[in-house]
Each structure stands twice: as structure tokens, then as C-alpha cells.
């Protein structure tokens, strides 16, 4: 139970960062933290206490195994997050070229 609470705390840190920070790069980092917390949570769902790696070999009995499917899901979601982060960083660089700042309070030409 403790690990889930810690995992939730990491998610809250990420949400706090997205909502409160005023720097584009810090917002991107906070989104990354939110993503890590989610991935960690799904990996924790798959964990079995004393479970083995889920590969069948000769000479090894089938005992309690860790669920392999969430690990595959996490790999996919990490790749997606990589793409989105690259996109956000590229946009942040272009925004810096246009406005000469990373401060979101100064980047507001759109309103209403």
C-alpha cells in the first residue's frame, strides 16, 4: 500500500508542477514526472511478491510470475511520451525564438 501512496505522491508532484510553474521547460519536466508516475503505477499492478520473470525455460518450474503485459504497455507508453516530449521541446524552442523568453506569463498573444 505504501508504494501506491508514494506513486500517487509522484503524480501529484507532476500535476503541481504543470499547474504552478511558469517556465516552459519546467512544465515539460512536470509532464514527464506525471508520465513516470503513471508508468510506475501500471508496473506496480503487475508485480507479484516473489514472482519470477515471465519466460519459460527448460529446467525451470512454472511458479508465480510477474504479469508481462503491463511491461509491454509501459514500453509503448514510454515511446509515446518520448515523441510528445520531443514535440513539446521543439515548440518551446520555437516559442523562445519568437518571444525571447520561457516565461508563460509573457507569452500571451492569444486571449479570451
Amino acid at each position: 500500500m505504501t508504494v501506491y501512496i508514494l506513486c500517487f505522491a509522484v503524480l501529484l508532484i507532476g500535476i503541481y508542477g504543470v499547474l504552478v510553474k511558469r517556465d516552459l521547460i519546467k512544465i515539460i519536466l512536470a509532464l514527464g514526472i506525471m508520465g513516470y508516475a503513471t508508468n510506475l503505477m501500471i508496473i506496480l499492478f503487475a508485480y507479484r511478491k516473489g514472482g519470477h520473470y515471465p519466460i519459460l525455460e527448460k529446467g525451470r518450474e512454472v511458479t508465480a510470475m510477474v504479469d508481462p503485459l503491463p511491461q509491454a504497455l509501459i514500453l509503448t507508453s514510454i515511446v509515446i511520451e518520448l515523441g510528445i516530449t520531443a514535440m513539446l521541446v521543439a515548440l518551446a524552442i520555437r516559442l523562445y525564438q519568437k518571444y525571447q523568453t520561457f516565461d508563460i506569463t509573457k507569452i500571451r498573444r492569444l486571449s479570451g
Binding site: I27, G35, M41, D67, L73, M87, L88, L95
Partner: protein
């Protein structure tokens, strides 16, 4: 089996465009229009020929010798998904025909077409998948292309809008992934139909928690009222054909369609979700209309109007009756048609005169007859004037609200409709029939752009035939049945 081709064709087109196009974008345009026409033919065939049945395709279920994978990913096509696929293909075709000449005035490059086809891939994937994690992956593909396309123009405002959209989209995607993880840990499966089968045996609090997370996540994609902040910026900053795609189909394929699939076909019938839909829908209708009323930027007005019209779809869904759901599905189609048309009108005015401000447009019905006439059709349609299609879908939703014993929500829908009429009268008065400001257009608009607008305008009138008894049973009736019949969905997908 045609199901995998809805994903394969646009994905292949996106990669081929990247491979074969050099400096010129002609081949990219031809290839993308060709593949969207094939998709349109396939989806129309799927909707009219196969809508009574549910077709299943098992990805990874191929027979290799005597060995067959026990676990597969399902692709499911029933009346609802065939219908939304058809909407996506129609709008994509019109937007592409428009884009060929529009993008030559901006910065012509093959990257536009490659990203466009990637967005179509993502949307088609979301619509036909029967697996909840697969849905997440396709949703991210569509969103990734959408972020890039919003920033396509290269102006400061466009980067700003794209960054805002990307941050809010990522937050909602994270929430959705949390929900999927919780569902997997509770049911040990990712197939939507199997989850639907197992959920009634589990604690109701699981459904409430996951449902709440999904309403926040997919509600943000659909831009319902408390989650709408990204939409006016993103939809008004994007190039016009992309605005037509985003407002016309992206918010519906990624938001509304998934909400329908999850809350009507997956979760059991909890009245609290219906109430939430009703409340979110009415807030969206009223506040979206009021905000649209104050706008002078044509595209920004249309973006706020999208929020309000999506509210009608949610209201119809929240009623949960046969006619409410049918009206919602019909309004989904109609809104895609006339909102795409209006965004294309805004794009052609922008090309011709270089302005989006209604006050600077003036009397355009003399110098831009096609744009002016089609925008009139779309405005009458969206404000709900008979005999255009918007009238019938709004009427069905209002009558359904009265029949369901909820006259307050019917009143909300009527007031929203009057406000819609008000702000589109403003568009027509200042934009197309006001005082004369321009003697002639700066840049004449091309035939392709006119064709796309005329195509959508004709469809705005033709689709109102869908409510005629006899046609209704063929087109909208199977959709409403799929949405309302949860047990049938589980049965037809799992085959037991």
C-alpha cells in the same frame, strides 16, 4: 476483411508521401486524395452494406501452420463505428481538396499531407479498435499529428496555441492511461467487450472512479465546458482545412465517440453518468454560445460555437432514450458537415482578403459569391432553420428531452439554438451583407476550394433526408440500437 485497411491505407500513404515527395508537393497531394477516396468508398460500403452486422478482425489471429496466437487484438466494426468512419472520410476528403490550393498560399510542403494522413490514421484506429490500450495508442498518434498541424503556420500565435494544446492534451492522456491501468488491474483484460462483461461482477466504486477519470480525460478531448480552454486557441490558429478537421471530426472521434463507446457499451447503466452528461452538455451549450456572441474573429467565433454544438451531442446522449441518442448521433454528423464548411469559408476569406476580422470583411456576397452562398447554407443549417439538417437533429434532441420528462433541458437547447441564430446573424450581417469595404478580392480563390465548399453545402441539404421514415431505419436506427444495446455489443464481439 476490410477492417485493417482503415488503418493501413492512411498510414502507408503517410510513409509513401514522406518517401517519394521531393521539393514539390504535387505527388503528396495526389497520393493523399487518392487514399482518402479509397477510405471513403470503403467506409460508405461498410456503413450501407454491413451496418446490420458486426464485423470482427483479430489482429495477430493469423494461422501459422498449426499454431495460432491465443491472445489477439480485436478490431470491431458495427453501425456506430462505420458511421463515424464515414464522417471522418467525408470531412477529410473535403478538407484535402480545399487544402491543395489553400496550402499553396501558405507554405507548400509534403509534410502537411504526411501529418494529415497520420491524423486520419489515428482517428480511424480509435474508431475501429476494440481494445482499450490500442485506443490510447491511436489517440496519441492522432493528437501528435494534430499538435504539429496546429503549429504548421509558423507564427508566434500558432506555436503558443500548439503548446497549450499539447500540455492540456498530455495531462488528459495521462489521466486516461491511469484509468486504463486501473481497469486492467481489476479485470486482467484490455478488450472493451470483455471488460464490459466482467465489470458488473466487480465493485461499483471501481466504475465510479474510472468513469470519473474517463469523463475528465475524454471530456478534455471533446472540449466540454470546464475542459474547453485549449479549443478556441488551437482551432482558430490552425490552417483552415486543419481547423475543419479538428472541429469537424477530431473532437468527435477522440472525444464523443469514445465517450459513447465506453459509457454506453462498456460501463453498466449508471444514472449518475447520464446526469453528468446532461449537466456538462447544458453548461457547454449556454456558455459556449455566450462566448461566441462576443467574438469578432471569425474563426474564434466558430471555435466557441463548436463547444456549444458539442454540448447538444452530450445533452442528447445524457437523455439516454432512443430518440435522444439518435438525435445525438445525427447532430454529430451534421455538426461535422456545417462546421467544416464554415471553417473552409473562413479559410477562403482569409486567402482572398487576408483578414479574419468580421468588421473588416464587409459586403462579400458580390465579390465572393460561392463563399458567401455556402456560408449562408451553413449558417442556416447550424442555427436550425428548416429544411437544413441542423433543424432536424436539434428538433429530435428537444423532443426527446420533453419526452424524457426533462423540459428544463429542452428549454436550454431552445435557448442555445436562439443564441446560435443570433451569432450567425452577426456573421452574415457584418461579414457577408454589411457595408461595402472591398471593391475586389486581393487573391482569387481557386476551383478546388470552391468545389470543397459546394460539396459540403450540398451535403448539408441532402443529409436532412436521413430523417425520412424508411431512410431513417436504414441509417440512424442501427446506430441508436448499437449505442443502447450493451449486451448485444458484448455478445457480438465476444461471440458468446
Amino acid at each position: 476483411m476490410i477492417l485493417p485497411f482503415f488503418v493501413i491505407i492512411p498510414l502507408l500513404a503517410a510513409f509513401l508521401i514522406a518517401l517519394i515527395s521531393g521539393d514539390r508537393e504535387d505527388w503528396a497531394a495526389i497520393l493523399s486524395i487518392l487514399s482518402v477516396i479509397i477510405l471513403l468508398v470503403l467506409s460508405v460500403y461498410g456503413f450501407f452494406a454491413l451496418s446490420e452486422t458486426t464485423s470482427i478482425y483479430e489482429m495477430g489471429g493469423w494461422q501459422v501452420g498449426h499454431w495460432k496466437l491465443p491472445v489477439t487484438i480485436l478490431l470491431v466494426q458495427d453501425a456506430l463505428s462505420a458511421f463515424v468512419l464515414m464522417v471522418v472520410s467525408i470531412i477529410a476528403l473535403a478538407a484535402l481538396i480545399f487544402a491543395v490550393q489553400y496550402i499553396r498560399h501558405k507554405n507548400p510542403t509534403w509534410k502537411f499531407y504526411a501529418l494529415f494522413m497520420l491524423m486520419v490514421t489515428g482517428m480511424n484506429g480509435v474508431i475501429i479498435t476494440g481494445d482499450i490500450f490500442n485506443l490510447y495508442v491511436f489517440m496519441e498518434i492522432a493528437l501528435f499529428a494534430a499538435y504539429a498541424l496546429v503549429a504548421f503556420g509558423g507564427q508566434a500565435e500558432e506555436y503558443e496555441a500548439a503548446f497549450k494544446y499539447a500540455v492540456m492534451g498530455s495531462i488528459s492522456s495521462t489521466l486516461i492511461l491511469v484509468g486504463i491501468g486501473v481497469l486492467y488491474s481489476a479485470t486482467s483484460t484490455l478488450t472493451i467487450a470483455r471488460i464490459a462483461e466482467l465489470l458488473p461482477g466487480l465493485s461499483p466504486s471501481l466504475t465510479y472512479w474510472v468513469g470519473g477519470i474517463f469523463i475528465a480525460g475524454f471530456g478534455l478531448k471533446a472540449a466540454t465546458m470546464p475542459f474547453h480552454a485549449w479549443l478556441p486557441d488551437a482551432h482558430s490558429s490552425a490552417p483552415a482545412p486543419i481547423s475543419a478537421m479538428l472541429s469537424g471530426v477530431l473532437i468527435k472521434a477522440l472525444g464523443i465517440y469514445v465517450l459513447i463507446r465506453l459509457f454506453f457499451n462498456m460501463f453498466a447503466d449508471y444514472p449518475v453518468f447520464k446526469t453528468i452528461f446532461l449537466i456538462l452538455g447544458s453548461i457547454s451549450i449556454l456558455i459556449g454560445s455566450f462566448l461566441a456572441l462576443g467574438q469578432w474573429d471569425f474563426k474564434r467565433l466558430l471555435a466557441y460555437s463548436s463547444i456549444s454544438q458539442v454540448g447538444y451531442i452530450l445533452l442528447g446522449l445524457g437523455l439516454g432514450t432512443y430518440w435522444g441518442v439518435l438525435g445525438a448521433a445525427f447532430h454529430l454528423f451534421n455538426h461535422a458537415l456545417f462546421k467544416a464548411l464554415l471553417f473552409l469559408n473562413a479559410g477562403s476569406v482569409e486567402v482572398a482578403l487576408g483578414t479574419r476580422n468580421l468588421k473588416e470583411m464587409g459586403k462579400l456576397n458580390r465579390i465572393m459569391p460561392v463563399t458567401s452562398a455556402t456560408s449562408m447554407v451553413a449558417s442556416l443549417s447550424i442555427s436550425g432553420i428548416p429544411p437544413f439538417n441542423g433543424f432536424f437533429s436539434k428538433l429530435i434532441i428537444i423532443i426527446a428531452a420533453v419526452q424524457a420528462g426533462l423540459p428544463f433541458y429542452a428549454l436550454v437547447a431552445v435557448v442555445g439554438s436562439l443564441l446560435t441564430l443570433a451569432y450567425f446573424m452577426k456573421v452574415q450581417r457584418y461579414g457577408f451583407y454589411g457595408e461595402k469595404i472591398h471593391d475586389q478580392v486581393d487573391t482569387p480563390i481557386g476551383y478546388g476550394m470552391k468545389t470543397a465548399m459546394l460539396l459540403l453545402a450540398v451535403l448539408c441539404i441532402v443529409t436532412s433526408l436521413m430523417v425520412i421514415p424508411g431512410v431513417l431505419e436504414k441509417t440512424l436506427d442501427p446506430i441508436a440500437n448499437v449505442i443502447l444495446n450493451r449486451a448485444e455489443y458484448i455478445h457480438s464481439v465476444l461471440g458468446r
